[in-house]
Symmetry: C2
Subunit: 393 residues, 2 copies
């Protein structure tokens, strides 16, 4: 017999880089009996989902919808539609997802110009502006919230430089959307993609994306066909738009889940939701610092509220600590990737996982694990500091 049939799965407190906790309401919506993907009732759910996605993304873009794939499919959908062979494309790289963006652009035959920065700090916007100005740049791709480092990348100067040179801007908001403000229209972002399993607190499997009219016009003007049929936004426009032309079979159950998750966001309100993410992040940082730990991202303004990268104290075996948290208490946190492997933990406080109780829980659990590693931590200091921060905010 298979595992699922013989034993129940363990319960986990999801404080890693995603998936985040999914509320019971969303799980129940997902488990509704299915209806057809061209059923009038389902088409209405699609319409409502688009409307709610527009709200979360701060946009009136008609082409705001969910790609039937994970966040990386959203990345690929953004790139494959905008980029043509030979295009000069500037990619900002200071983490795993910047590297991935560059790789996807490269596979589309473009001339990739990377602007690299230290992992764990934002990339200097003026270096990006300089790269944009260095040639006939068609597209600039940048990660807003770098999940691998916990960095919030400032976008305004980059977008202004792109605009001045007629380049389109693609923004990765996988780990920011729903936790940090993301305002496509106000910030003048052309294409944005995200994932469902981070601050939207929906299971992984869908990628919200939005293309503005400038981006859609660029797609229409292409001299070569979009290399992907599955992710071709022109064909997807036929399905999500008025024509309802059959393209793929929508992932019905995941669509139910996203609809419910977005309904919950609307009920909470976007601003209160962002404030909640900020408050819990702030308390976690207060607790970690009171324990003598150091955040990977030095400038508080450049720290993600949703994903907290903290340096592993000297002499501590980070994998042992993570393993203990998982097996003793069922708490998942993430390790570092690439050059930060072994050096940081990544503690996610995303969507339904961003709660006061989870902050207290993870601080208490970390403290106990660190003391077992003979790392000097004042007993109770982290939890006390966090609770103090809650009271003050």
């Amino acid at each position: 017999m298979s595992k699922a049939a013989r034993t129940p799965l363990p319960e986990r407190v999801l404080l890693g880089p995603g998936p985040s906790t999914v509320d019971g309401r969303v799980l129940r919506a997902m488990s509704r009996p299915l209806i057809g993907h061209l059923d009038p009732e389902f088409l209405q759910i699609m319409d409502e989902t688009q409307e709610m996605l527009r709200h979360v993304m701060g946009t009136e873009n008609r082409m705001t919808f969910a790609i039937a794939g994970t966040g990386s499919a959203g990345m690929e959908a953004s790139i494959v539609n905008l980029v043509e062979p030979g295009d000069r494309v500037v990619v900002v790289v200071a983490g795993v997802f910047g590297v991935r963006l560059a790789e996807q652009v490269r596979r589309n035959g473009a001339d990739v110009v990377t602007v690299e920065g230290e992992w764990g700090a934002p990339v200097d916007p003026s270096a990006v502006a300089e790269a944009i100005e260095g040639g006939d740049t068609k597209v600039v791709a940048v990660v807003h919230a770098e999940t691998s480092t916990g960095v919030l990348q400032p976008l305004d100067e980059i977008i202004a430089a792109a605009r001045a040179h007629g380049a389109l801007v693609v923004v990765d908001a996988v780990t920011s959307l729903g936790g940090h403000p993301v305002r496509l229209d106000e910030w003048d972002i052309d294409v944005c993609y995200s994932g469902t399993q981070k601050c939207l607190s929906c299971p992984p499997g869908l990628a919200p994306v939005s293309f503005n009219e400038r981006a859609m016009a660029r797609v229409k003007e292409r001299s070569t066909p979009v290399r992907s049929w599955y992710l071709d936004v022109g064909l997807l426009d036929g399905y999500w738009g008025q024509a309802r032309a059959y393209h793929h079979t929508a992932p019905i159950s995941m669509a139910f889940a996203l609809h419910e998750a977005l309904s919950m966001i609307r009920e909470e309100g976007l601003e209160p939701r962002h404030a909640r993410h900020h408050r819990n992040h702030f308390a976690l940082v207060a607790g970690l610092e009171a324990m003598g730990m150091r955040m990977q991202v030095e400038n508080p303004d450049h720290r993600l509220w949703s994903l907290n990268a903290v340096r592993v104290p000297d002499g501590v075996d980070e994998a042992v600590v993570r393993g203990e948290l998982l097996t003793r208490l069922g708490i998942e946190i993430g390790g570092g990737l690439g050059p930060l492997a072994g050096q940081i933990w990544r503690i996610g406080l995303m969507g339904a996982s961003s709660t006061e109780n989870n902050v207290v829980l993870v601080l208490g659990a970390l403290e106990a694990a660190l003391r077992r590693q003979e790392c000097a931590v004042s007993p109770g200091a982290g939890v006390a500091a966090a609770i103090g921060a809650f009271a003050a905010n």
Copy 2:
């Protein structure tokens, strides 16, 4: 308030071209609280899913797994990995999915040679063999079960011709896998893809695929990079294989669902499951013919058991009938596509939807709707014939 929040969704009997009915066990598995995608417990679910997929697909191929997208993403994954610009690729086209295959091959820069056939009949295998022999054919792509026409395409002669010329064979088994025998190793198929929402009776959103070692070797020998990062089977090998290298965040909940759906198939047994699909198809056809209707596919050996294409009687407005079935009784059946639009209905009996009761239900409902359209139907003839067929089989 959104629709989902204010009213429950209607119940539907899913007898269209997919999604099919999803059993409550699968819905409950899907709604389990999430665990992380790199959690040891989740990795075990991935392993077990691969093992069960191998069983359903009749293969020992190591690279048997689920693409994080719908069936059309499975098609794209198959094509984008095997095909390089300039390759001569023979595509068999006699329906929507053949057309789609050709289009995907074209977007990969290949030299596409289509072998076209009438929609509603299999394509002559010797014409395909001739096309394969007509040049340095690298890949042959063929739809086993053409969802748009209800045709089961014979594969053996096509595979033999491909083998004789060193061409790889890609087979679309979206609407056959789990309902008809599909035996990759015995039939010597190199790459096969399917979808979850047909005879596997899992919600749409994943695409089972399998690549044999010959296909994996071809991928390794490519002189150009795979154009898709998301669907690159080399990278996916790193994630599904022993390395467990992070690629994308697996669609956890859908993976739970697929695992449970495959467990149910294993419990039923593959042969009994195929026999059930055959028996219910046979009874439906007996009923439709007793009502004076004609199947689109003339030769019974070329009819899909999972998807029954029946000609709309002269003078009947097919859309009115479909609309009545949906709104009066909550029964979904499909209409025709392309040249068959308005001319056929497509009645799916897939997975959990393939039951005796559904055969009786749809025959009774169709009879009533046809009589409202003043189409002469002997009262009760269809249902009686189907019940007779059940008794005889």
